[in-house]
Symmetry: C2
Subunit: 416 residues, 2 copies
Amino acid sequence: MSWVPVDAESHFPIQNLPYGVFRRGNDAPHIGVAIGEHVLDLNVLSARGFFQTPEIADAFQQTTLNKFMGLGRPFWTEARAVITELLKESTATIRDDAKVREEALVPMSECAMQLPAEIGDYTDFYAGRHHATNVGIMFRGANNALQPNWLHLPVGYHGRASSVVVSGTDIVRPMGQVCANQQDPHPAFQPCAVLDFELELAVFVGPGNKMGERIKVEDAKNHIFGMALMNDWSARDIQKWEYVPLGPFNAKNFATSISPWIVTLDALEAFREQLPPQEPAVLPYLQDPEYGSYNINLEVALNTANNTHTVISRSNGKYLYWTFAQQLAHHTSTGCPMRPGDLLGSGTISGPDDASMGSLLEITWSGSKVITLADGSERKFLRDGDEVVMTGYCQGEGYRIGFGCVRGKILPAVQN
Amino acid sequence: MSWVPVDAESHFPIQNLPYGVFRRGNDAPHIGVAIGEHVLDLNVLSARGFFQTPEIADAFQQTTLNKFMGLGRPFWTEARAVITELLKESTATIRDDAKVREEALVPMSECAMQLPAEIGDYTDFYAGRHHATNVGIMFRGANNALQPNWLHLPVGYHGRASSVVVSGTDIVRPMGQVCANQQDPHPAFQPCAVLDFELELAVFVGPGNKMGERIKVEDAKNHIFGMALMNDWSARDIQKWEYVPLGPFNAKNFATSISPWIVTLDALEAFREQLPPQEPAVLPYLQDPEYGSYNINLEVALNTANNTHTVISRSNGKYLYWTFAQQLAHHTSTGCPMRPGDLLGSGTISGPDDASMGSLLEITWSGSKVITLADGSERKFLRDGDEVVMTGYCQGEGYRIGFGCVRGKILPAVQN
Ligand SMILES: [Ca+2]
Ligand SMILES: [Ca+2]
Ligand SMILES: [Mg+2]
Ligand SMILES: [Mg+2]
Ligand code: NI
């Protein structure tokens, strides 16, 4: 327990301590950890000499987490130990020092959260089996749902780093080229009419690898800093026309939203669960000695312009077939260099049934069904003014390791 | 003419003045322009007060070109005018000042060229019609060579920025997952056996756009800083197995090489040529009022480990169907933000006949033919020790606007 008050349902107890970057007014961005409804300002603590290891002290005075991410696991472990000690109930150092407390413990309501890192490269995988199967059934029928490669490698594509934004950033509905009849194409340029979200988890890379070298699957954990929630906004009508043969491009590059707090693997460790072995067996370079998943309760809600709130999906982190360790090992198997702050998205996380699907494409089965919201209105895909809110947490005994949320509201397309 | 000696066949006469970043010994990287066999050090000139506009003076003291790229066309025009004036035969300022000359005019042989910019995002298009047709014929037959979308939009995909390297960087043959029979898949993880190059041009973006806004095709020129040669190394066997349905990923992300000198659109302007109108007509947002191409002679040579040199292709910049202005307008049509230093590759530039194909995939028609090199050895795809050298220039009357070259040598795969 911490001397900072934390509710039982709070996402940010002392067991969590996720990292983020925030601004107060016009101050420069500071690095902090979330604790209850406060943020502990690590820049302030660092300046006051609370971190004796110079690399950590220096990293916490940066305006992004890249440098801290690049330090590696021994430094992460040490920093976590120092912060845990300072926050625990019995430690008087800050608890009883009104001046330091005043300076370093900032109400979350005063913090404008920033993107936690400069993202050099962003990759999105397709690692959820139910999702890949659902999409496959819709597009190719039940007999060919999974492509032949899907069970053998974590399929992924390079995304657009410049449009990764932090939770709360409004999303302008994209314009794009769409085509109703591809056999006799007369495409049009118009506002996306089939705008969707994708419920995903994402990890930030820690220390990278040199070009030409690889990160081995058994070592991948030491290269993964932590995890966030991600909404991979998707323009289905644009995607359908453009994606052959080089994959999704404009359908994805207008925006990807992430939650501001990065939950460390240390905090998640208690919620790791084994998965049944992969079948068929994967190649040795992909065999993860800790093959498993995290039991993270995920939820998607839709807020309408008239302030109604409807939960439209409940899924779980355990529905990923390919682990982030496997994704990282595969991605670097060619010698592709990673850099601290690089972002890997999991792909859409859908569960086994209708109530746990991670995209409107699946929930409305490509628009063949409608969902009814709390205000009685219906949706196949997103309307202007809709806000998508994704949340996630692991339930421990009497505490939660939470991710906070990632939210984004749709603004009308800019047509001219 | 310049007071600096320049051969008639030099790529770098006073009409060119391409920008690059170089290092001398252990000095910090400096920005320079190429002139004959020298580099004019703009950092030194800036420190000595030769650039009176503070934004330009500051930009030239950076270690990358990003800041200068972000200033925009009026500043580029001014800087070019100042440099041209300083270098022309009749200007005594530097010509007759031994001390400044000694400091600012560096023999190219002493310069280690660097990546000219930090590349935030890298995108590769597929804008060459002959190339897209050749690939289509090989994979789908002559009747369905071009996909239905190809004539309606510039197809592209997001690439990996972290593995874009400057000419001269060795390329480690990638390991990867390949599969001989996709109907009954038993994939293997092994060194790429079908390693290829792709002859491309690429532009660096200047001033970007805010997320949610667009760059219009008629304004695109003001957002393009200049052009380089690019070799998009490609692992065809990896690509064949992985690319469905999200496009090429590991087949491309191990390396992309670019030439170190960025030739400005001002220098290229005299070599722009009109193209016949696009048919079918493209949508208004893609109608380029200056639809055309650059007449750039392109050449690919293969140097073997035993020092033989064989030219294996001669192509031309005019074989692009989609202009970079169209690519930029399409890319940002969703509101996708560009940042100064972003890189757009053209896609492989193949000409209409066998002697002008821009990849070994096409030259050997997917390995069904061999080419014979100057040393009598044969190739279908690249061997360890092979060096690929691409060059390009525009031929003016008595001068050349050249790109120098982009070269890269294949090192053996690292298997463990
Ligand atoms: Ca996705
Ligand atoms: Ca290419
Ligand atoms: Mg996205
Ligand atoms: Mg490449
Ligand atoms: Ni079999």
